[in-house]
């Protein structure tokens, strides 16, 4: 008991250190949704079918299958009963894509997303200087095949997967690095692993709670060693020959795979820590059934081993309309995100009774329906001068009638918003979110006149008196609502005298038009704006999506790369451009913030958002609102409100293992 309580205090200390609760205006942290402290003196109980297997001698007793200190998950409403199926509609690839499966990282987001709580790990220590994170695993925890889960499995992931250039050519993902440097990962004992960073790391736990953190618990050494080309060269050579593949990285991605890959759940023999495990391969299948993992490491407060639900089923539906129909017929337990849109709400609402489901509101972590970025580094110097001038961006933003867009396109849901942390985030900054969101053509003209004076024919011209026309690329397939939005924007922009063309692109063409250096500007959606996520999401506020970006910012990006590393290679055809002082400081802050903790970090975030408010680097439209999921009426323990997101991969963190079906 001593040890367990210690785990909990450690956790509280950590969240004080790392969460933004010390910030003015921070959300009050709710009671923890789960902890390790369980008193199960009278032992554990288990699902009837597992009990039968134990009685038949096919399975060890439940107490031997669970760790010494299992994770105790507090159900959202009540203690459940065993049984039933949970049916999902699925597009045929990676079942984790639907974000209703596959969230069991070392440390995880609490259900409401406000803090990081234990998951596979029972607790952690953070060194005073925030350079070393010590993770405590659960003694006696087993993989789904009954083999022990130990520090060796974490080390195997780190050494043989994340840092193995033969499978991860790019090295460890940026989320796992700090200030560009990877940590040293060491095994302290069988149940303790230490991550040591060179610089203080203020974001380690949050990053480990995100989708990429799950990689750490995906690789059971005793099983996956056979697929390691260095550990088992002949075996792998034979497997690759059987599959007709010659490239190890490609073979590995298709047959072993990690979080992003469809292969990760395709091998039914691969040990897992998830609540349900596969019984057959799933790629190319029409309907896949997963059964309960007899070794799942969590229990409810009454010491019943989770999950409550017997089986998870994935039913293939290639077309969203089919998914929608399946959902309103009540054939799906919870509707997937792609059909649970405000536009479909009426259809869902009308069929509630016939389909035997109800709608559960779902809050989106996206911070904007549409984020417009201009090519500040356009190869055309006239355009570059205009687009990189804040007066232009402010004028353009004031010439958007956001309320009209919200009323007509988004059915009155949402509020006018710039790309900025949402109101529920401790990093919410009123100025960054709301500046220049009012529709005011007179004020817009004031700003625009400084950059693009009005010409004789009512069209604005460049300072040289020559006509100035530009175009915006939008992706009609990804978010059809942006087509309607930009029709309305085009109208008010023309009233403001702007000579603009909106290019509505199909999916395939959109990406290429973004990559074209001469593109004037593009639109993407704003993601990861709720709770602490903006802290992990500074890249997107600087229009950095990794390999691509809407609007050409390549000059600034190259400048920043050279600032960090004078020997960095600049892509061909790109000239580094030094951004204005404010923006340069924002780039600097992006590198600094992850290396700070507590108040210092919060102060830098404030500085970042203040500068963003002043510069208005990107232009937003509205907060996304009106999302929901249909949930069958016999399913219980669904939280009153779900959360959608990516870095918080909702609704998977809502503890699906505690959902249960009431007959």
């Amino acid at each position: 008991m001593q040890k367990v309580r210690f785990g909990v205090t450690r956790l509280v200390a950590a969240s004080l250190l790392l969460s933004a609760s010390a910030l003015p205006g921070a959300v009050v942290l709710p009671v923890q949704a789960q902890d390790n402290a369980a008193v199960c003196a009278s032992g554990f109980t288990e699902a009837p079918q597992l009990k039968a297997q134990v009685d038949a001698g096919a399975l060890p007793p439940v107490a031997e299958r669970l760790p010494l200190e299992p994770l105790v998950i507090q159900p959202a409403k009540e203690i459940g009963t065993y049984g039933g199926q949970f049916i999902d509609s699925w597009g045929g690839g990676n079942i984790a894509d639907i974000r209703q499966f596959g969230y069991e990282p070392l440390v995880r987001w609490s259900v409401d997303g406000s803090e990081v709580v234990p998951g596979v790990a029972k607790g952690w220590d953070v060194s005073e200087d925030a350079r070393t994170y010590t993770i405590y695993l659960r003694e006696g925890m087993k993989w789904s095949d009954g083999q022990p889960f130990t520090a060796d499995d974490i080390l195997f992931w780190w050494d043989r997967v994340e840092n193995n250039p033969k499978v991860m050519t790019g090295g460890p993902r940026g989320e796992l690095k700090n200030n560009g440097k990877a940590p040293t990962v060491t095994k302290v004992d069988d149940y303790t692993v230490a991550f040591a960073y060179e610089d203080p790391n203020g974001l380690f736990l949050q990053n480990m709670a995100g989708p990429y953190g799950q990689r750490a618990v995906q690789f059971a050494k005793h099983y996956l060693e056979q697929f390691d080309i260095d550990a088992n060269p002949e075996g792998v050579a034979k497997l690759m020959a059987d599959a007709g593949q010659t490239d190890y990285a490609a073979w590995w991605k298709a047959n072993v795979g990690t979080y992003n890959d469809a292969a990760q759940f395709n091998d039914p023999k691969r040990p897992s820590v998830h609540a349900w495990i596969g019984t057959d391969t799933l790629l190319g299948k029409e309907r896949v059934t997963y059964v309960r993992n007899p070794y799942y490491f969590a229990v409810d407060p009454e010491c019943q081993q989770l999950p409550y639900i017997d089986e998870r089923v994935w039913a293939l539906a290639a077309d969203p309309e089919v998914t929608l129909l399946q959902a309103i017929q009540g054939n799906i337990t919870m509707s997937p995100r792609n059909v649970s849109t405000p536009q479909n709400r009426a259809v869902f609402f009308d069929n509630q009774e016939a389909g035997g489901y109800h709608l559960v509101p779902s809050r989106s972590c996206d911070y904007n329906t549409a984020v417009l970025t201009f090519s500040v580094n356009s190869p055309d110097p006239r355009k570059a001068a205009v687009f990189s001038n804040p007066d232009f961006r402010k004028g353009v933003s004031l010439a958007i009638n956001r309320q009209e867009i919200i009323d007509t396109v988004y059915l009155g849901q949402g509020e006018p918003f710039q790309p900025a942390p949402l109101r529920d985030s401790p990093f919410f900054n009123e100025a960054m979110a709301k500046n220049f969101t009012e529709f005011d053509l007179a004020k817009a003209a004031e700003y625009l006149d400084k950059v693009l004076p009005m010409g004789a024919d009512g069209k604005r011209v460049g300072l040289d008196g020559q006509p100035f026309a530009f175009s915006i690329d939008i992706n009609a397939d990804f978010r059809p609502d942006t087509v309607d939005t930009f029709q309305l924007i085009e109208r008010t922009w023309k009233q403001a005298g702007l000579d603009v063309t909106i290019n509505v692109r199909a999916d395939n063409v959109f990406q290429n038009s973004l990559a074209a250096p001469e593109s004037d500007g593009g639109v993407w959606v704003g993601e990861n704006g709720c709770g602490q996520l903006p802290l992990l999401n500074l890249n997107r506020f600087l229009n950095d999506y990794g390999s691509w970006q809407p609007g050409n910012w390549k000059g600034w990006t190259a400048w920043n790369a050279l600032r960090l590393d004078p020997n960095a290679t600049v892509p061909e055809g790109v000239t580094p451009v030094e951004p204005p002082a404010n923006v340069a400081r924002m780039y600097e802050l992006r590198s600094l913030i992850p290396t700070k903790i507590g108040d210092e970090q919060a102060a830098l975030m404030k500085e970042f958002t203040d500068l963003a408010a002043e510069e208005l680097l990107a232009i937003g439209v509205a907060t996304p609102a009106g999302f929901y999921r249909s949930v069958k009426n016999d399913v219980h323990n669904v939280p009153d409100e779900l959360i959608e997101g990516w870095l918080y991969p909702g609704p998977a963190p809502s503890n699906l293992s505690t959902y249960f079906i009431k007959q």
């Binding site: 049916i87 045929g92 690839g93 894509d97 991860m168 050519t169 790019g170 090295g171 993902r173 940026g174 599959a243 007709g244 593949q245 490239d247 990285a249 490609a250 991605k253 298709a254 992003n260 469809a262 292969a263 395709n266 057959d280 790629l283 190319g284 299948k285 029409e286 309907r287 896949v288 059934t289 089923v313 039913a315 293939l316 539906a317 290639a318 077309d319 309309e321 089919v322 129909l325 399946q326 017929q329 054939n331 990804f478 999916d507 395939n508 959109f510 990406q511 290429n512 990559a515 993407w524 993601e527 990861n528 890249n539 999506y545 990794g546 390999s547 691509w548 997101g645 990516w646 870095l647």
Partner: protein
């Protein structure tokens, strides 16, 4: 005849080479490749694929090679080893994706063909014999309606009707419990219970044209002197109709079935997508949209082979029917 067949088969080879090359190039030529699409799909989910990973994948999949090298390694695999390459989109070898779906596709296509024939041929005959009667107008109206209403729309409407009034679960060819089950009598009857909907949807448009072809041909035949002569000799009206004019009227219809193989494999793609059918059509669309090039190219190559074989067979049939063709060619 033998040399005619041989000659036709020899012509087929360069045609197939050209088709395979062109189909491969057409898929690969647009800017961007499968890895770009993958990165964009990841971005839509919120995931960011690092540049290093993108480049590594491109190398791993051989997409950094010159196009002709990629074509050569693919086509030699197809010809020498029967290996159609790897579907990036499905993470499976192409043949493992296509073959399991081919069986159901053939069943569905044959079923809708039979539906067309069973419905359209009697109606065509009836409409010709009772020309300008109320029944003729009724079926003509129905036929044109079937021709004019887009299949996918009809599919959606029928799915709604089946759902709203009959409570049938729609989407797919099987009930959930049979989808991945091995074949059994239960699975077969379940297939039959689901097959009628896509069969009717796919059949309606075909029905109209068959009705019109048969009606028009039969009307021409009905007033020929041999009919009058047979009738004068006291032949029964129905036996007469079936024995002479109908047989004549069927000829253009039969020779018009030369693209039957292609229809069987790729017919009704849109309907299959809308109805969630486990047939091959949606595979091709998905492969093309994703620039899953080996998958798409293999599929197009297969369709081309079927077109060529179908044309060859219909030529042979014509040659057999009409000796003049044989003499000219031979």
């Amino acid at each position: 005849m033998g040399s005619f067949i041989l000659r036709r088969i020899i012509y087929v080879i360069p045609a197939l080479i050209a088709v395979s090359l062109i189909s491969f190039l057409v898929i690969a030529v647009p800017p961007g490749d499968f890895v770009d699409r993958l990165a964009e799909e990841a971005a839509k989910k919120g995931d960011i694929m690092p540049l290093a990973e993108i480049e590594a994948m491109r190398r791993a999949y051989g997409l950094d090679q010159p196009l002709l090298v990629q074509y050569w390694s693919w086509i030699t695999g197809v010809v020498l080893r029967g290996d159609f390459g790897y579907s990036f989109g499905w993470n499976l070898p192409v043949k493992e994706v296509i073959w399991p779906r081919l069986g159901l596709t053939v069943v569905l296509s044959l079923a809708s063909l039979l539906f067309v024939w069973v419905v359209a041929i009697p109606i065509g005959i009836y409409s010709a014999v009772r020309r300008y009667s109320a029944g003729d107008y009724f079926f003509t109206f129905l036929g044109f309606l079937g021709l004019a209403v887009p299949n996918f729309l009809l599919a959606l409407a029928l799915m709604y009707v089946a759902f709203a009034w009959f409570g049938q679960d729609v989407g797919g060819l099987f009930s959930p419990e049979y989808i991945e089950a091995p074949w059994s009598w239960g699975k077969f009857t379940d297939l039959m219970a689901h097959l009628w909907l896509p069969m009717v949807v796919l059949g309606t448009s075909g029905t109209a044209s068959v009705i019109r072809v048969i009606r028009a041909n039969l009307i021409d035949e009905l007033h020929k002197p041999y009919v009058t002569a047979a009738r004068a000799k006291g032949k029964g009206e129905f036996a007469l109709l079936m024995k002479y004019p109908v047989r004549h009227a069927m000829n253009p219809f039969v020779s018009g079935q030369n693209d039957i193989f292609v229809d069987i494999v790729s017919g009704g793609t849109i309907v299959a997508i809308v109805m969630g059918l486990q047939t091959t059509g949606p595979l091709l669309i998905k492969a093309l949209l994703e620039q899953d090039m080996y998958m798409a190219a293999s599929f197009i190559l297969m369709l081309s082979v079927l077109v060529v074989v179908g044309t060859l067979l219909s030529d042979l049939l014509l040659a057999w029917l009409d000796p003049r063709i044989r003499y000219q060619q031979g």
